[in-house]
């Protein structure tokens, strides 16, 4: 039992953080925004050069064969930087899904993407709007005869104007027989379910990173901005708002980290027990609440300044709004929590799902 990241795990995230600090600062984001481009190929290239797209891909498929605990801090860094490019989806969800598929087509596409950095996007029923679909080279599309991999020339993309000015959203559809089948209907359900678990966990990580970025922005502003002859951050009201936001973050982050640790390198290992699924849902709910509170708090701390376009506060606020409704949205995940607490054993020894298998000399009174 060790719930501390290794130096390697943290170092990898630090490298991403540093790259994003250089390549994804406020000025870069604003340039990108005015160009109405949510996909900066140069930045994408630099990110992938770090090997990020293969973190969760098994070694025999050409990846690093690492697990969710290795990727989660990277996803947090993406959220903290308000990264427009869908790196978290691509490396956290789509490539692992391809690795999870049997057959040559999926493997070839995976290999090609790992080599060239080609963006592949997934049209998942729980996340109807696809980020930067205009930059994707191929799409994984569910259909009546199973999961298909369709090249971008063969799909219809419809832009869906959304609130996040850094991300262009699309719906994507293809002809029923377009592209190549990569999973039969039976396998598809399991593949999409696993993708949803991964998507929820790493979106939760993005939200935690974003929440922390909001508090960081507000703390910096509150230390500088002066009213009534002193920094506004000297006011207890400001302090207590920010302390409350930080409390929310601190008790979301370990949940996200624990949920990420459930996502192993081997794709088939993504657990589907009611207890594991509840941990994932808990992560997304807690992170969403932390991000919403932190974004609202930083807006309030910034006052009128925060309400203006020229300050970055609104970028985070809008990203939070966008991310919290992905992967089924809060009500779906609350439902999964209710299922868990009303059907599976409860108690301190159920914190880590594998415990029950090993211990239990005197069983808990409650039975599932």
């Amino acid at each position: 039992m060790n719930f501390a990241f290794s130096e390697e795990q943290t170092m990898m995230a630090d490298v991403v953080r540093e790259l994003l600090a250089r390549e994804c600062g406020s000025a870069a984001l604003r340039g990108q925004m005015s160009a109405a481009c949510s996909f900066d190929r140069e930045r994408w290239r630099k990110l992938l050069e770090l090997g990020l797209s293969g973190v969760l891909v098994p070694e025999d498929a050409g990846g690093l064969g690492l697990g969710g605990a290795d990727f989660v801090q990277i996803a947090e860094a993406c959220g903290h930087a308000c990264l427009p490019e869908p790196l978290v989806d691509h490396a956290g969800v789509v490539l692992p899904l391809l690795a999870d598929c049997e057959g040559e087509t999926a493997r070839a596409a995976l290999t090609q993407s790992l080599e060239t950095g080609a963006l592949i996007a997934l049209a998942h029923p729980q996340t109807p709007w696809i980020v930067a679909a205009n930059a994707a080279s191929a799409f994984v599309l569910p259909g009546p005869d199973g999961l298909r991999l369709v090249r971008s020339e063969e799909v219809r993309r419809v832009q869906q104007a959304g609130i996040d000015p850094l991300r262009q959203l699309f719906t994507v559809s293809g002809e029923p027989a377009a592209g190549a089948l990569i999973a039969a209907p039976g396998a598809m359900a399991a593949l999409l379910a696993r993708a949803a678990e991964r998507g929820a966990v790493f979106t939760a990580a993005e939200l935690v990173g974003l929440a922390q970025a909001c508090v960081d922005l507000a703390v910096a502003y509150a230390g500088e901005r002066r009213q009534f002859g002193r920094p506004i951050g000297a006011n207890q009201a400001i302090k207590h708002h920010l302390a409350s936001a930080q409390v929310k973050i601190e008790f979301a982050r370990p949940v996200v980290h624990a949920a990420a640790a459930l996502m192993p390198a081997l794709p088939e290992g993504v657990p589907q027990s009611v207890e594991s699924r509840a941990r994932v849902s808990h992560a997304l709910l807690a992170a969403g609440e932390a991000a919403t509170l932190a974004a609202r708090t930083t807006l309030q701390v910034h006052g009128a300044m925060g309400y203006s376009w020229e300050v970055d506060v609104h970028l985070y606020l809008k990203r939070a709004l966008s991310l919290t409704q992905r992967w089924g949205g809060p009500e779906h995940h609350r439902q999964r929590i209710a299922e868990r607490i009303l059907s599976a054993p409860l108690g301190p020894d159920r914190l880590f799902p594998q415990v029950a298998k090993v211990t239990g000399t005197t069983p808990m009174k409650r039975t599932a």
Binding site: Q160, G303, A304, E331
Partner: protein, 388 residues
């Protein structure tokens, strides 16, 4: 004596408003007045049309285009106004804030000069309170008015001036006594926004619209007759104006009651996917809007009976601003994945203007004095807690 029944005359008045609105409210919503010149002018035209019907501000005296009615009739008017889906008031800084201020503190000349074109919408007003270093701390105003014969020369830097991008006139606080500090030595002065020496810089809001401007004033010459009230009396007058803003006028309950009604309709339209928690949130929203309306009716009755409104205005501001955000959050939760779509998105369906309304609602706890400032006011002036 509490009697919560409308009189026959009040009912007849309601019917009259309802008829006029049914015949006059534009069938299609006007484009936003902060979104560009066309929307701004369409709203100006609407102000003129309202004035033609003598509906511009029913509480104003008849001499200035009003009807001299009491606050209960004003509430009835507002109820019918919002129920009819009538446009937002582009001249709200004028008719709700400066208008009442001029009637209380202005000279006869000022009333005669400024109120009629305000009533008709010929002159649209912006406010110019804040400065970069004077936001919550409004008494830190640095913009100055230097006396030069029969004129003032206005110089300084104003910010967050709502409507100032396209408005005709503005009112603001200026330091008329250069040696003064804090809230002393300030005066309330009116100035035309097309005057020599005024330059305006639009500020885009988080919804992308330029609802604010920065104003750079460089020796803008205005006659001393543009000062409202006595020299140095600006702070006191401004506080009274802020009371109007936070209190009754700017946020009439009907607007929130209509939001609550739309929210119930949204819930009903999405009932199959809604949870019990969302139903409870919708019920909370409706209760909040009703509570706000009842409270304003009680305040209006008290004012009619000779009472006054002071720090209570801060209670209102906190309540409606928090309510407004919650209502919109509830709507976005019901919309689920569609919440983030703009109405123009093909998949948006019936998302309506909830997202826009949400962004707008987020300004509520900030403008006209942040809710933190309002809580200080309540604690110190209403409850009597010691100053910090």
């Amino acid at each position: 004596m509490v009697d919560l029944r409308y009189t026959d005359e009040q009912q007849a008045f309601r019917a009259e408003v309802r008829d006029w609105m049914a015949a006059n409210v534009p069938a299609e919503p006007l484009p936003s007045f902060d979104g560009g010149r066309a929307g701004f002018e369409a709203h100006r035209d609407w102000e003129a049309r309202l004035n033609d019907g003598r509906w511009g501000m029913v509480t104003w005296p008849e001499a200035y285009g009003g009807r001299g009615l009491d606050l209960i009739r004003w509430l009835i008017f507002e109820e019918e106004y919002y129920a009819a889906g009538a446009p937002l008031r582009v001249n709200q800084n004028g008719i709700f804030l400066l208008g009442p201020t001029l009637m209380e503190y202005g000279s006869e000349e000022q009333k005669a000069r400024f109120l009629p074109p305000m009533a008709t919408g010929e002159e649209i007003w912006a406010q110019a309170w804040s400065e970069p270093q004077a936001g919550s701390d409004l008494a830190a105003v640095r913009a100055r008015a230097v006396r030069d014969g029969d004129s003032y020369l206005l110089s300084g830097h104003k910010i967050w001036s709502s409507r100032a991008v396209m408005a005709d006139w503005a009112f603001g606080l200026f330091r008329t006594d250069p040696a003064s500090e804090r809230h002393k030595g300030l005066s309330l002065i009116l100035f035309p926004l097309d005057a020599q020496g005024v330059s305006r810089q639009a500020i885009a809001q988080i919804n992308g619209e330029a609802g604010f401007a920065e104003l750079f004033l460089d020796e803008v010459r205005v006659p001393i007759g543009n000062r409202v009230g006595a020299d140095g009396e600006g702070w006191r007058i401004c506080m009274a104006t802020a009371g109007f803003e936070r209190g009754l006028m700017l946020r009439s309950p009907a607007r929130f009651q209509m939001t609550a009604r739309r929210l119930v309709e949204l819930y009903e339209a999405n009932r199959e996917t809604c949870t019990a928690a969302q139903r409870d949130a919708v019920a909370e929203a409706w209760m909040a809007a009703e509570a706000y309306a009842l409270s304003i009716y009680a305040t209006a009755s008290r004012l009619i009976a000779g009472g006054s409104i002071g720090a209570e205005a801060s209670l209102n501001k906190i309540f409606w601003s928090e309510m407004d955000i919650k209502m919109h959050e509830t709507a976005l939760a019901i919309l689920g994945a569609r919440a983030e779509l703009l109405p123009t998105a093909p998949a948006a369906g019936d998302v309506g203007r909830w997202l826009d309304g949400y962004l707008f609602s987020l300004a509520g706890p900030i403008y006209a004095g942040t809710n933190e400032i309002q809580r200080n006011i309540i604690a110190e002036r209403l409850l009597g807690l010691p100053r910090g």
